[in-house]
């Protein structure tokens, strides 16, 4: 029987097959490190007198804690400053390359791998961060790990793992203008639920996926974890190769040819069988937004806040709890929900294409007086590119704030936080209670919806603006 993409990559990385109940020992090609989930792992190495086995397969960046203003001054928050200083000491001691604040390559850890050409098809990629699933867009098997596992990878360059099950997400048809891969993944999560992908690697397939850019694929794979999936993957193709060619760490010359030949084998065999299959009709999708406090609580923008009175007891209780936190009344039209803040950023949607799409909507428009809009590039490379294209000026002219790179308001570990009760349309990945600041209320949206919402002040798509702006992203 044939093998799926995920199984092929798995097979190529088995260092040692587990016996009986034992897990397999899997080799890790790339370990991404940041300041929040690594200090205890470095401590563990020191405590046991262990070396970091492969500094040459490890790379670090500063992202979760970093301020997005005044980045050349010392970090004002003492505890954040200590965490960043600790990372700097650790990478020095263990010989790991770091992209520190102020470096032209600094950025969110999941931006760095692809930009540098380090994330390649058929590799295994891990990081102490659940959105490591982003890298699966290249046909890598990429997943988030905890700090104990971070230490394990540092010490051994391997992880003991039980094989995952496989789930095909078949996205057939063609996305309409104004509908993005963010809308697709929000739809997938609402369909299968936040636990629906538990135990699975999700492989995104079908015509709509093949038509997506690498950046759009990254957005989709990024949120696989929000569907409970351990990883998300897309089989590499010409789009992948074109993205990688010429990047700093991509293979060159004869090595490039050998690599591409190997990468072309990385597709699910026609006779392979998935453990589960989900179908999504791309043609019928419209912009999708969340109304509740988990990423599965989403609906098309044209619909209304759900009514617990129409549900069974368990669903009604969960819905009431979410609506209570969100400060929403049942049956309110989603388009009538007014926001205070718009956040364009995060490892989900802070790449150059996201910024171009949002800028196209904002060009010639002003954001509503009632709205504060933060535009936070995922990386300094994206920031530089956007500035070269004049996009920063479009955002500034529209009344938005143009910041430096980092995780920022996606999780509010730095000063970029919502105040209690504030409502935000956010291009990030999690609408959990308090995620963007204690008491803050989050609606997950695409960059196009974020931009249109900033202009109108209520959840909107570019179609709601006059003159109508339609963009394909």
């Amino acid at each position: 029987m044939g093998r799926t993409l995920a199984e092929k990559v798995w097979d190529q990385h088995v260092v040692r097959q587990g016996e009986g109940d034992e897990p397999d020992l899997l080799y890790i090609d790339l370990h991404l490190v940041h300041e929040v989930t690594s200090p205890q792992a470095f401590d563990g190495l020191r405590l046991h007198g262990r070396k970091l086995r492969r500094p040459d397969l490890t790379i670090a960046t500063e992202d979760h804690n970093v301020p997005t203003l005044d980045i050349l001054k010392p970090i004002a928050d003492e505890v954040s400053a200590t965490q960043v200083a600790t990372l700097r000491r650790n990478v020095e001691e263990f010989g790991v390359r770091l992209f520190p604040m102020g470096d032209a390559n600094q950025g969110i850890v999941h931006m760095i791998g692809p930009e540098q050409g380090l994330t390649q098809p058929g590799t295994t990629v891990v990081c102490g961060d659940s959105h490591t699933s982003t890298h699966g867009a290249f046909g890598a098997l990429a997943f988030g790990i905890g700090t104990s596992e971070v230490e394990h990878v540092m010490a051994t360059q391997t992880l003991p793992l039980k094989p995952f099950r496989t789930m095909a997400i078949e996205i057939e048809g063609e996305l309409r203008p104004g509908v993005t891969s963010k809308d697709v993944i929000l739809k997938v999560i609402s369909q299968i639920g936040t636990g629906g992908g538990a135990g699975y690697v999700l492989e995104y397939r079908g015509a709509a996926v093949r038509a997506m850019s690498m950046e759009a694929r990254m957005t989709m794979c990024n949120m696989s974890i929000e569907a409970g999936g351990r990883a998300g993957m897309v089989a590499p193709d010409e789009t992948t190769f074109a993205y990688l060619k010429g990047r700093p760490h991509a293979p060159q010359g004869a090595e490039w040819d050998a690599a591409v030949a190997a990468w072309r084998e990385l597709r699910t065999d026609d006779d392979a069988v998935f453990d589960a299959v989900v179908h999504i009709d791309a043609d019928s999708l419209t912009p999708f937004v969340t109304w509740g406090t988990n990423p599965g609580q989403g609906l098309p923008l044209g619909e209304s806040v759900p009514d617990p009175a129409t549900m069974d007891d368990d669903a009604a209780a969960a819905t009431r709890k979410a609506l209570d936190y969100m400060g929403l009344e049942p049956n309110t039209k989603l388009r009538d929900i007014a926001v205070d803040v718009v956040f364009l950023g995060s490892c989900t949607n802070a790449r150059i294409e996201d910024f171009r799409a949002a800028a196209d909507v904002l060009r010639g428009n002003r954001i509503a007086d009632s709205v504060q809009m933060l535009v936070v590039p995922g990386s300094m490379a994206v920031k530089a590119q956007a500035e070269a294209e004049g996009l920063d000026q479009v955002f500034l002219d529209a009344g938005a704030e143009w910041r430096n790179a980092g995780c920022s308001m996606c999780l509010g570990m730095n000063p970029d936080q919502l105040a209690p009760g504030q409502r935000c349309a956010s291009t990030s990945n999690r609408n959990f209670e308090g995620r963007q600041g204690k008491g803050g209320r989050t609606h997950l949206v695409s960059p196009l919806v974020a931009a249109a919402t900033a202009v109108r002040g209520t959840l909107s798509s570019p179609e709601d603006l006059t003159p109508t702006v339609l963009t394909t992203a």
Partner: protein, 195 residues
């Protein structure tokens, strides 16, 4: 890691589903560089509410948390496991766990016991009918006993063995260092390096 065989302690009912790791410990509490001291961040945004279960005697002294489905979803932060353990929990019971949380628990020595939702409901009723009731969690037998109620739980065989023996995962892997070296020698030369 300490060995885990059986544990007896007060059951704390947490009648909430989809408790993500941002709820278990918000990001602002993740800034410490140590592995302990996270108990003040545990369920931080709910701790101000006097009605929250951890603000109620005797549940505040619980060491077996009986939670709703999909516990520990979301962020990979192992701090969620550390915060639960720092507070005093040794066992968390749910009908389904976030994958990364479950893995983190097994590495840090917190038992994540998967129990059918119908049995979770029975445990909740039992505990609430007699607050302060002690549950006994037997990892050998894979059972949870609450007075006359005995419910089974599942945990994978490898995790169970490691917890019973208190084994360090890295030490186990390093027994196979020759296999790792052999694998490295055969890796394709086009694989990337960060230097």
């Amino acid at each position: 890691m300490d060995k885990f065989t059986t544990h007896t302690g007060i059951g704390t009912p947490l009648r909430v589903s989809n408790v993500d790791t941002d709820q278990i410990i918000p990001a602002v509490f993740l800034k410490r560089v140590t592995r302990t001291g996270f108990d003040d961040g545990l369920f931080a945004s709910w701790r101000n509410d006097p009605a929250f279960v951890l603000n109620q005697e005797p549940y505040d002294r619980g060491s077996v948390l009986v939670a709703g489905s999909d516990f520990g979803t979301g962020s990979s932060r192992e701090h969620a496991v550390w915060a639960l353990m720092d507070y005093g929990f040794r066992v968390v019971i749910s009908s389904r766990f976030g994958e990364i949380f479950k893995g983190n628990s097994s590495k840090a020595g917190l038992l994540a016991a998967t129990v059918d939702q119908s049995d979770v409901e029975l445990l909740w009723k039992k505990i609430e009918s007699r607050p302060g009731l002690e549950l006994t969690v037997d990892l050998h037998a894979r059972t949870i006993t609450a007075e006359d109620l005995v419910v089974p739980f599942s945990v994978d065989d490898y995790t169970r063995w490691r917890l019973l023996e208190g084994l360090d995962d890295i030490g186990l892997t390093l027994r196979h260092e020759e296999d790792i070296t052999a694998y490295e020698a055969a890796r394709p030369s086009h694989k990337p390096t960060t230097v």
